[in-house]
Symmetry: C2
Subunit: 93 residues, 2 copies
């Protein structure tokens, strides 16, 4: 299995809208076991995204999905920063 | 909803065993929507734990569960370090 932990910084006042795009674009993606979009509790701009996939390939393939492309184009203007915190290997069971 | 992102550092050579204790101790906990234990892909000692709970209280209550207490006592000697990376608020839906 393949996991990712990422951190987004939203532009001021845009966190909720950005979270909605991230959630809407990530529903029912093939090979995705978990895609959690969560607001940091200590500020108003940070979003944490934690993901579990069958494989790195499954994750890469998702970027070509129409729903994901649409979400990315809506989200892009609302993103002030992005960082990949960790790439992980969750156990299969 | 309530989320946590934590990072463990295992003692040398103990990561797999520590991950097993974390996974075993975290099965079917009341109020827990997600508890992912994942090895960092870039080293041999880091473990990422990403959690989603009904509430902070549900998380706190889990620490009193017998399975969790047992896991903690087995895991403690295998832990070289622990850090809370983020406390989060995942959207309910």
């Amino acid at each position: 299995m393949y996991g990712l932990i990422g951190k987004f910084t939203a532009t001021d006042g845009a966190r909720d809208e950005l979270m909605r795009h991230l959630v809407d674009g990530s529903r029912d993606m093939p090979g995705c076991h978990s895609y959690v979009v969560a607001a940091d509790s200590t500020d108003t701009v940070t979003i944490w995204v934690t993901e579990v996939w069958d494989s790195p390939d499954a994750h890469m393939a998702s970027l070509d999905l129409e729903q994901v492309q649409a979400a990315i184009s809506k989200a892009r203007p609302l993103i002030a920063g992005m960082a990949r915190i960790a790439e992980t290997s969750p156990p299969s069971a």
